[in-house]
Structures are given as C-alpha cells and as structure tokens.
C-alpha cells in the first residue's frame, strides 16, 4: 500500500521546476510545489463548466416561472401584479448573472480550503506568496482582474469580427498578453496573482501522511530489547561501504510489507560486505544492518560529515 502511494506521488513532487521553498513567518523553510499550468487550465475549464451549468439551469427555471419568452414582453408592460412579480424575477436574474461572473471564484476561494470546486478536483489551491496569511484582500484583488484576463477577451472576440481591421488586431493582441501572461513567468502567475501577492500551489494531500504514519521501524525496538544486544553486529568496515542514498533505498525495502525485494537486496549487501551469516533470516539481518548504518551515518551527520552515497 505504502509503496503504491509513493509511486503515484513521485512524478508530482519531482516534476521539473515545480518545487519551491517558502519561508514561513517563523523562519521555517517549507517545501511546496506550485501548480502546473495544465492543472490550472483544467481547473478553470471545470469551473467555467460549473458556472455554465448553473446559469443554464437557472435560466430554464426562470423561463419556466415566467411562462415562456413570448409572454414576458406582454406581461411586463401590463402593469398588473404578475407584471411586478416578473420585474422582480428579472432583477433577481440580472443580479445573479453579475454574481456568477464576479463572485463565484470569490466565494469559494475565501473559504477555508482556498480553492474553487474545479481547483479542488485538480488538487490545487491558492496561497500567499510571502508565506504569510491568505487575506480576503488578496482573493478579491486576484479575482477582480479575472475580468480582463478571461471574460472580456471572450466577449470582445466573439462580438467583433476580424473584419473590423487593425483596431481589432491590436485589441486581440492586448488581451492575449493577459491571457498568456502565466506562460511567461517562472511561477505561472497570472496578472491577478501579481496584483494580489498570491500564487497557486498543489494542495497537500492528507492520504499521503497516513501512509507514512509513525510506526516504529521494527528494527529499533527489537535491537534494543534484546538482552544480549543485536544478533548481528557489523564492523566499521562493513558499514563504511554505503551512504545515505543506499540507506534510504534500504528503508524503502524494509517498509514494503510485500517483501519481494528483501532477498535480492540481501544478496547484494551480503556480497558487497562479504558476509553470509544471515541466510534464511534476511529481514532481521537487513534491519540490523539498517539500524547500525543509520546510527553510523547520523553520528557522522552530527559531526558535520556527510556521506551521500557509496561513491563518496
């Protein structure tokens, strides 16, 4: 289980160029990953789809209540009670349209999750670029600019045809600058993010932490509770062949409960250090080796000596 989740996680975190270090107000550096542009584009499409669906559903309901488009005109000018009711409906309708255009993103991003439904589905959210608190001002600022980045160009390009000439070309170019802005900076900021001091990052995933829960590695307790000390004891020379990289590879093997790879790893190590007394008891042998290798390397760490891998 753990191995599987680790596999799905790897390409995300190690995708080139997405990792960033954030300095929190306490001065702790936090490694986060910014969202890929593809994930953001997908989230945007999803959100637009949701808005479109909501507007369509509401429009149909509205028309249904008003009794068809043809009769609206007549009822409105009649000045009767139903005319007033219809007026009220139209007012509600206009306000709702305005709110969908401007407040949909605002409403969701102001929530505790800091993400619209589309963003949440894609596992991304917004955060403050300076590592501080995400304030309502930021969310408002970044969403006010969405208008010229997205809605205005669409309306503009749709309403005026290409035959309107040079002015149309100039305006299109001008809007393209905003639309393509995220492609031309390192952090994928759009104009709204620049103004707001925010950015879009990958949301941390709770599942992951669960897989890495703090089960004590068996090696520690078993080694410590044995009265006569560890069953396998390795000499300095035997431990000196490996470094941190190999230690962590070994950790992964030991944590993998399926234990398929235990045997080949045992063979590799026993061959390398020239010992074969763990035959038939490979796991215990490897756990003892892991503990002692880690003790050795961590002792070195405290003295400022690092051994990155077997070649150093």
């Amino acid at each position: 289980m753990a191995g599987k989740e680790r596999k799905t996680r790897r390409p995300r975190k190690e995708a080139p160029g997405l990792g960033r270090t954030l300095l929190t107000p306490e001065g702790i550096s936090l490694s986060i990953a910014i969202s890929s542009r593809g994930a953001r584009f997908g989230a945007l499409l999803l959100d637009l789809l949701f808005i479109g669906l909501l507007i369509t559903a509401l429009s149909v309901a509205f028309l249904f209540m008003a009794g068809g488009a043809a009769s609206i005109e007549r009822t409105l000018s009649s000045g009767t009670a139903s005319g007033h009711a219809l007026q009220f409906l139209i007012v509600v309708w206009l306000v709702v349209l305005f709110l969908f255009r401007n407040a949909y993103f605002l409403f969701f991003e102001l929530g505790p999750r800091g993400a619209t439904p589309g963003k949440r589905i894609n596992g991304i959210r917004i955060a403050a670029r300076d590592g501080g608190r995400l304030t309502p001002e930021m969310v408002i600022a970044r969403n006010l600019l969405r208008d010229i980045e997205l809605f205005l160009p669409i309306v503009f390009v749709a309403s005026a045809g290409a035959e309107s000439g040079l002015a149309w070309l100039a305006a299109t170019a001008w809007f393209l600058i905003f639309m393509l802005f995220p492609l031309f900076n390192r952090d994928g900021l759009r104009a709204g993010d620049v103004i707001a001091g925010s950015w879009v990052v990958q949301a941390p995933r709770p599942k992951l932490a669960k897989a890495l829960s703090l089960e004590a590695p068996a090696s520690v307790e078993r080694a410590a509770t044995m009265p006569e000390g560890p069953k396998y004891r390795f000499s300095e020379d035997e431990l000196a062949v490996y470094g941190e990289y190999e230690l962590q590879a070994l950790e992964r093997v030991l944590r993998d409960t399926r234990a398929k790879s235990i045997e080949p790893v045992y063979h590799t190590i026993s061959e390398k250090i020239g010992r074969n007394d763990g035959w038939g008891d490979e796991r215990a042998f490897l756990e003892a080796y892991y503990t002692q290798l880690r003790a050795r390397l961590e002792a070195g760490l405290r003295m400022g000596v690092r051994k990155a891998d077997k070649n150093t």
Binding site: I28, T135, L144, D147, A209, R255
Partner: protein, 359 residues
C-alpha cells in the same frame, strides 16, 4: 477532552520506548510523536471543515503544536536519516501551515471590519490617486464642454447616436426638458436599476483591472465618461436647463461618479506601483498596492448598487430639481464624511494596531 487524555496515555506508554530506542534520532522522534499525531488529528478535522468538532483546548494548542512540529522538522532535516519521518513531517507542517495561515475571518467578519474602518482607511491610503483622478475628472468635463462648444460635430464622437436619442444638438428646449422630467410612469424601474448596476459595476471593475497597464487605460476610461458628461452639459445649458440637468445628474451622479472616480484611482494606484515600485521589489510593491485597491473596489461595487437604486427610483420619482439636489448633495456629504472624516471605530483601530504589532 478525550484527545488530551489519550495523548497523556500515549506519552506514558511511549516513555519506555524512548529509553529503549537505540538511535538518537529515533528517541527524538518518539519524544515528539504524540504531539505530531495530535496536531495531525486537529488539522485533519479542520481540513474537512469540521471546525465545531475541534475542542477549544485543541484550538488554543494549534499554533504551539504547529511551531513545535515546524522546529522538529528543521532539526530532523539536519540530524535524522529516517526518510519516512522527515517526509511525514514535511507534509504535516505544510498542511498545518495552510490551516494556521489560512483565511482567519469569515466573509461576514471581514465585511464588519470593512465597514468599521477598513474601507475609509483604504480610500485615504490611495488619497493621492483620488486627488489626481479628481483633477483629471474636472479637466475631462471642461474638455468635453469646450470641444463641443467649438464644433458641435464632436458631440457624436463623444455620445453615440443610440445613447443620445432625442438629446442632440439643435433639439428644442421642450424636448430636452421632457428627457429630464415626468418619467415616473415608466414601467420596469427596478429592472432598469438592476441593469444600470450591472453595467456600471462591470465598467468600474474594468477601470480597476486595466490599471495593470500602468494605469493609463483607467484614466482614459475616466476621461471618456466624463467628457461625455461635459458635452451633455453644454447641450442642456444651451437650452437654459443647466441647473435642471445638474440636478438630474446629481441625484445619482454624486454616488456614481464618485464610485467611478474611486475605481479609476484604484487602477491608477496599481499602475503607479508597477511603474514606480520604489525601494521594494516590484512584485511585493504591486501586491501591496493591489490589496489596498481591492478593498476600495469592494466599496465601489456597493456604491454602484446605491447609485443604481437612486438612478432607477429616486430620479424618476422625485421630479423637482430642488429635491434631486438635496438627495444628491446629501449623498455627497455622506460619502465625503465617511471617507475623509471617519477614522474607524475604536474597536477596529485597536484591532488594527494589534495586527500591525504582530507583524
């Protein structure tokens, strides 16, 4: 409560394990594990939006637990080769950071602070831009007037034909008068008001957003709108209706034009920060200006709601110039007093000082 008890039990049973642990880094981990798990439980609840399920005790402990875990992470990075623990802590601290530094106030709470002083403080903070835009506004009205007075053909360059309707150069005073008065029997006032609001709000958001291009389009939009006003003023004054027209505009204009002025000023504020960031890095200067301007813009949208109501109802229902002037004048005094004489409630000011002290 139960969380705390469990926590104590865990630490009691862990004590033996800590003494037995062979590695120093494992002892380090075992000593802190209970705290980390408690933090994770709190964070998990809050991530799911179940704030009510988090006990007060846990909520108070959250910042402390977060800091402990964060410092634990920086120690573990330096001294521990237990990759699983470091990875666990990395995710835990990251998740806790999102919770601890997530949005603190609800929307309602933010709006309360906004009315209690945040809005007027933001308007004062961009005061220089408001003053500049006001000067541009006056100049634009004068320019509109002068252009049309010089050559009436300019009128149609500023006012489109469908918008002008009967209000064209050469129209008789009676026709012009009819456009100002006696429209109360028109149906659909509320629809008209809602449409006005929607259009005006979109224009003001545009004026603000275009500030990104160094503020120039914001100012141009302001000039275009106000030159139109100057041209119409010339038209009505030619028919001897200057005061009546001013009243007709003032009833909602003191609110609406003020709002458009503020949105252009907000746009200019951003544009200025982008063009002349000063000693700070460009991005942080832009962010600071953008956040200030965003507060102003929320206010602008609210002002436009009021302006639309005034334009849709008050102007049609109040049919005398004096009545219109008194409504418009009252609104103008109200806005000016709120923006420039209201320092915020005492409660708000104390809170703000506290926040700045924390920073």
């Amino acid at each position: 409560m139960s969380g705390a008890v469990q926590h104590r039990e865990q630490s009691a049973s862990a004590l033996g394990a800590i003494e037995n642990a062979a590695l120093r880094s494992d002892r380090f981990r075992l000593e802190r594990e209970a705290d980390w798990q408690r933090l994770e439980a709190i964070v998990r609840k809050m991530e799911k939006g179940r704030l009510r399920k988090v006990s007060d005790e846990d909520l108070l402990a959250l910042p402390g637990l977060y800091r402990t875990a964060a410092s634990g992470l920086s120690v573990a990075r330096e001294t521990s080769l237990d990759a699983a623990t470091v990875a666990y802590l990395e995710t835990l601290v990251q998740r806790a950071w999102f919770v601890v530094y997530g949005p603190r106030t609800s929307l309602a709470g933010w709006l309360r602070g906004f009315f209690a002083g945040g809005w007027s403080a933001a308007v004062r903070a961009i005061g220089a831009d408001v003053a500049a835009c006001f000067a541009i506004l006056v100049a634009a009205v004068a320019a509109g007037w002068l252009l049309v007075a010089h050559d009436p053909e300019w009128y149609f360059a500023l006012v489109s034909r469908e918008m002008a309707g009967p209000r064209v150069p050469g129209a008789t005073p009676e026709i012009l008068r009819a456009t100002l008065f006696d429209n109360a029997d028109q149906g659909g006032l509320s629809v008209f008001a809602a449409q006005l609001f929607s259009n005006n709000a979109q224009v003001s958001i545009l004026a603000f957003a275009l500030g990104f291009a160094f503020g120039i389009p914001s100012v141009l939009l302001l000039v275009q709108n106000l030159a139109l006003l100057g041209a119409m003023l010339w038209l009505y004054s030619g028919a001897g209706l200057t005061l009546d027209f001013a009243g007709w505009i003032a009833v909602h204009g003191t609110t609406e034009i003020f709002a458009i002025l503020l949105s252009a000023a907000a746009g200019l504020h951003i544009g200025r920060a982008l063009a002349f960031p000063g000693p700070r890095p460009l991005l942080s200067a832009a962010a600071a200006a953008g956040q200030r301007a965003a507060v102003v813009m929320v206010g602008v949208v609210l002002m436009l709601v009021i302006a639309a109501l005034l334009e849709g109802f008050a102007r049609q229902l109040v049919d005398t110039t004096l009545g219109r002037f008194s409504i418009g004048g009252f609104m103008l005094v109200l806005w000016c007093a709120y923006f420039f004489a209201f320092p915020g409630t005492r409660h708000w000011r104390e809170e703000r000082i506290g926040e700045e002290g924390m920073r």
